[in-house]
Structures are given as structure tokens and as C-alpha cells.
Amino acid sequence: MGLTLLLGIFAICVVLGVPVAFAMGIAALSAFWWEGFPLLITFQRSVSGISVFSLLAIPFFVFAGELMLHGGIAMRLVKFASALVGHIRGGLASVNIFSSMLFGGISGSAVADISALGSILIPVMKERGYHPDYAVNVTVTSSIAGIVIPPSHNMIIFAVAAGGGISISKLFLAGVLPGMLMCLCLAVAAYVIAVKRNYPAEAFPGWHAVWIASLQAIPGLVTAVIIVGGVLSGVFTVTESGAFGAIYALLLTFFVYRSLDWIGFKTSVVSAVRTTAMVMVLIGFASSFAYLLALYQVPDKLSSFMLGISEEKIFVLLMINVMLLVLGMIMDMAALILICTPIFLPIVKDLGMDPTQFGIMLLVNLGLGLCTPPVGTCLFVGCAVGRIRIEETLKTIWPFYLAILAALILITYVPAVSLFLPSLLE
């Protein structure tokens, strides 16, 4: 009964349009009341859910990303990508995807990626004769590669949700190939459509221009090198690396590029606060929610239910993927990572899957959810930036969904895609 109340109230709140974070809080509060717990437990869980040391990396990663956007690093990355891959057929799509790999890699936030790159690239693409739906689709779907290409704050949320036994450096390494694989699949889809719709290619600017563009982009790329390098070498903890990366980005944009003024700084701080608060308050109330799920023993029950249907690894993984995709459609990433990890991780461990590989699979699944209605933050932001109705993009987005699904299948069933790079380290 308590569980029904928890899930029921949550569903009603979400459908009515209550912000998801607060819907979880309200549902948890009701369930605690039903169980006769003091109501303050809801908020104790939520406060301690966010007072977790490794989660401190989130504001740092987000702040570094905002500085890159408002301090002109993003623009230099696009120029660099443009010089390198712009001459391919449908060149700006490739530029878009490649830029996502670079920028999303650093910021780790798909939404930041879209608002940064989308606002630069979508107008240019439209101008060069690309249809708006295509421009938005490419931008939106490619942005989720940044979630698995390190650094990524979502990986940290996953490591926290998994109970601390998972190494962040291993996760970071594990995300590299899957991220590139997704970009490759998307590039193929984009290329095929570009040929069909007869989109143009850009002129190759010459090696000199490539050289200049890379010189200008490299200091920006170093931000990612600092964060990832700091973690992989173990010289810094993840949190320290994030702080160091943010301070580096600040110094770079202010003193070297000289493209960050007081207004840019203020905007970066405020946007970082907004994003951090949004993600963290979700994490907080998701902790209250997850506490109740543990109390009602949902993970145990679901796991014996699923393994009761079949113990065939291929089938169980398929079921998990489908569930994650459906959940991803209606809920946001951070909260789902916290809720789904304790539920599914024991099951896949039983099946002999490496927790790190599961993490990548989970992130790609939920990432795809960011591009699907009814709750698809990336899709919404992309459509807002591209000034196009969601229904219009949805008509032509399916080849891109297919591309990501293809990558997802490989990530799910071929462990080496995720685990090859980490295995080199050991």
C-alpha cells in the first residue's frame, strides 16, 4: 500500500505538471506520512543526499562548461571542427557532431552542449540551406555523446549511486570508445540523409587554416585534459580536478583569450548556479524516494521477478534496456541514475556484467531519453534554439534514434567497447 501511494502520487504529480524534483519530494513525503515516520525524514534524506563529497564535482564541471560557453572557448572549438571535417558532404552536420565530441566531452552536460553549439551552428546550417529539422536533430542527438565522453558529472552520480565501489577513472576511460561509436553512427546517419537531401559541403580551408584553428582551440581542450588527466593519473581527486579545471578555464578566458568580461563572468556564475541547483535538488529528493524504494525492498522484488521470467543474459539485458528507455522518456537523467542503479546493478552483476559497462549502458539509455518526448530536455532546448516545433523534428528524427540504438546494442552486448580502454590501464 505504501509503495502504491508513493508511485501513484508521483505519477499524478508528474502528469499534472509538477516539477519532477518536487513530485518526488511530495510522493516521498506522503509515503513517510503513511508509514507513520516523522515528516522531517524526507528532508534529512534530501539534505544528506546532496552533501556527498564526490557530488561536489558537479558545480565545478558545470561552471567550467559555462565559462567555456561565455568565454569563447566553444566558438573556437567549432572553428577547429569546421576546418577539420567541414569539407565532407553535409559538412556542417559532421562539424556539429565533431564539436559535440569536443565540447560535450568537456562540459559533460548535454543541455549545455546544445545551448552552446546549437546557438552557434543551427543558424549557420539554416543559412547554408539545411532544413531546420535536420539541423536540430543532428544537434540534439549528438549532444548525448558528451554524457559518456569524459569528463562527465553523470558518471559521478552513477558512481555515487553504485555505493562508491566503482572507480571514476575506470568509468572515464570506459566512456571514450562508446562516445566515439555513437558519434560515428550519427555521422553515418547524417551523411546518408545529407546525400539524399543534397546538402552542400564546405570548401577545405587549407592546412594553414587547420593549423591556426587548432592552435586557438588547444588551450580550450586542455581544460578537459586537466580534468580527465588529473583523475586518470590519480594526482587529483575528481572533485579537485573539477575545481582545477574550472579555475583554469576562468584564467584562460579572462587572461589569455581575453574574451570573458564581467558580464560574461556573472552570466556564467548564475547559469552554473541554476543548473547545479536543478540537478542537485533532483538528486536530493531522489534520495528520499530511493530510500523508500529500498525500504519497500523494490530492488530485491524486481530482481527476483525479472530473473524469474528468464535467466538468459541477452534477454534480461534487453528487458533492462527497454525499461530504461521507457523511464528515460518520462523522467530526467540525474534522478533516474540514482533510482535505477540500486535496482538494476545487482541484477546485472548476478549475470556477470561489469558494473562499469553497465554504467555506460545506463547513461546512453537515459541520454537517448533526453531526446525523446514527453520529457526530453535536450529536445526541448534544441527546438527552442532552432525555433521549430517539436512535432516537426519528430517526423524526421528516427534515423538518428536508430543510429543511437545501434550503438546502444553494441555497448550492451559487446563488453570490449566499454572495457577495452580500462583493461589497458590494469
Binding site: 534524506r45 544528506s48 562508491g164 525500504l295 540500486p342
Partner: protein, 302 residues
């Protein structure tokens, strides 16, 4: 009534078996009037949260380390003082006697009923540089400690660089030299694989911090006198069981550690270390003069 039990350890651990045995005995002897479930592996949150929940009556019982307990019940900080116990057997004796009862009173004043004190072993230093034989060997070493002024002070009084750090970060940090070492009991040193990167284990046994099988006073007071007796006896029995299991577990871990090529050195005379702790005690008693009597109760025991 359905009891909820909090436990930070995984299901197969001496503490966990002790708690399961406790619950099983209570269930059996109350004829099923009281049932319960132990939630292992910290699925119901961190220790400070669980202590708060226990005091509020949301959690019915749990096993808590007396280390972090000091934030909620300052008296329990006394057992976090380095070398306050001379050995593990002495810890048993004191915790089962008058000093343990004094802590029990302090806990009860905060809504926690102590049913028994479990063994969490003795913590010793390990590092990747050299064996520690004297306090001077710690000088200049970067040592990870738990978040507590006392432990920071303990390292600093030997001239080391205390580094509070999340537990999950320690392995990688030792491997890459961010810290030179840390300190823990043999089972933790072994199960975290820290012994693979820190090859020197020096049996300083500086901290012997017991864990406490606790019950919410709200839950306890709601029991009949007969049930309270059953619970107390079950608590005592589970304590005996856990201590036995702990001994076995520690021996098994030491074997793995030795087989792993770790250089273990015993420290026959710990006087030099104990003397080095004087500033820690002075600073603690200066800040908490009301604890003097309690500290002496432990320190002056034979």
C-alpha cells in the same frame, strides 16, 4: 511489530551475521511477536543519518561505529582517543564493565540503548614507503585519516601530514602517491585491496574503536519487561558471536595480506607512540574538561 535494522557492512561480514543472529533470537523468543529485517550495505543511508533516524524511532536497531557516533554523543569520542585501550582483550573487559556502562548512560540520554559492543579490531598504519617502528617514522608522511579532529591531531603530533579523504579515493591515491598511506584494521586493509599498493603494515594498533549494537529508546521503551529482557540477552549473545567471527575473519585477512607479500612488523613496545599522543589528550581535555573523569576511567584501567 516489524523492526528495521541498519547496517553499513555487506551481508557476509561478522557484524552482519551478529545482527541477523540477534534478530533471529528476538523473533524466536518472542514467539514471532517481534519480527524484523536487517538492511545491509548501507541501503538506508549513511551512519550519521541512521543515528538520527534511530533517535527519532524511525530505525529500530543498528550497529554503529563509536567513531562517528561522537558527533551526536560527545562522550563516545573517548574511545576515539589513540591508545585509550591497551589491547583488544582489554577493550572487551572495559566495554563490558563500568566504563562501557558509563558510555551506555550517555547514549541513553540521547535516545539510544546500547545492547552490546562489537569488535571492529585494532587499526594500524600502512604505507607505501617504509615500516613504521617509531613515531619519528611518520614524520613528513601523508596519511589519510577519517574526518575527525582527534585523528588529524594524532598524525600531526607525530609530525605527519594528515589528509582527510573519502574512503573510495584512497586506493588510487596511494597508488599514485597523493597520500603515502592510511590506517585501518586487517579486514578492511585486505578487502579494499589497499595491501596491493601499500606494502608496509605496521601493527601500531593505535585505535581500537568498538562498534555498538544499538536500539532506539523509543522502540525499547515500548516493549514489555519480558521482551526487554529477551532483547538484552539476545544482544549479549550476538555480541559474543560477533567477537568470535571477527577473530576468525581477522586471521583470514592477515593470511591473505601475508601471502600478498606485505611486510608486517609488530611493535613490541608502544610506549613511544603513547607518549607522542600527549598533545592529543591535552588538547582534547582542554577543549572538553568535563570528560576528564571519563577519560581517566578508561586510561587508568589495568
Amino acid at each position: 511489530k516489524d523492526w528495521r535494522g541498519w547496517n553499513i557492512h555487506v551481508e557476509d561480514y561478522p557484524v552482519s551475521h551478529g545482527m541477523e543472529a540477534f534478530m533471529a533470537e528476538v523473533e524466536e523468543k518472542t514467539g514471532g511477536e517481534i519480527k524484523g529485517k536487517v538492511f545491509h550495505a548501507g541501503v538506508l543511508g549513511s551512519q550519521p543519518d541512521a543515528i538520527e533516524q534511530l533517535r527519532l524511532g524511525v530505525m529500530d536497531f543498528g550497529v554503529f561505529s563509536l567513531g562517528p557516533m561522537g558527533q551526536a554523543v560527545p562522550e563516545t569520542n573517548v574511545v576515539s582517543l589513540p591508545f585509550v585501550f591497551k589491547s583488544v582483550p582489554q577493550m572487551y573487559e572495559l566495554m563490558d564493565g563500568a566504563p562501557g556502562a558509563a558510555l551506555g548512560e550517555a547514549l541513553e540520554a540521547k535516545g539510544i540503548v546500547a545492547l552490546g559492543y562489537y569488535d571492529a579490531g585494532a587499526r594500524s598504519f600502512y604505507n607505501s614507503i617504509k615500516p613504521i617502528n617509531t613515531p619519528a617514522d611518520v614524520e613528513g608522511m601523508k596519511v589519510r585519516v577519517m574526518n575527525n579532529d582527534l585523528f588529524v591531531g594524532m598524525i600531526e603530533s607525530m609530525g605527519g601530514n594528515a589528509t582527510p579523504m573519502a574512503f573510495a579515493e584512497v586506493y588510487q591515491s596511494i597508488k599514485t602517491g597523493v597520500v603515502d598511506g592510511a590506517e585501518n584494521n586487517p579486514p578492511s586493509y585486505e578487502s579494499t585491496s589497499h595491501f596491493e599498493v601499500a606494502k608496509y603494515y605496521s601493527m601500531t594498533q593505535h585505535l581500537i574503536i568498538p562498534e555498538c549494537l544499538c536500539m532506539s529508546k523509543k522502540t525499547f521503551d515500548a516493549l514489555t519487561p519480558e521482551q526487554q529482557e529477551i532483547v538484552k540477552t539476545a544482544g549479549k549473545n550476538s555480541t559474543d558471536l560477533q567477537r568470535k567471527l571477527w577473530g576468525e575473519r581477522e586471521a583470514a585477512s592477515m593470511k591473505i595480506i601475508m601471502d600478498g607479500g606485505v611486510e608486517v612488523n609488530e611493535i613490541a613496545d608502544k610506549t613511544a607512540f603513547q607518549d607522542a599522543m600527549k598533545p592529543v589528550y591535552d588538547k582534547y581535555l582542554e577543549a572538553n574538561p568535563e570528560m576528564t573523569e571519563l577519560v581517566n576511567l578508561f586510561r587508568n584501567a589495568e
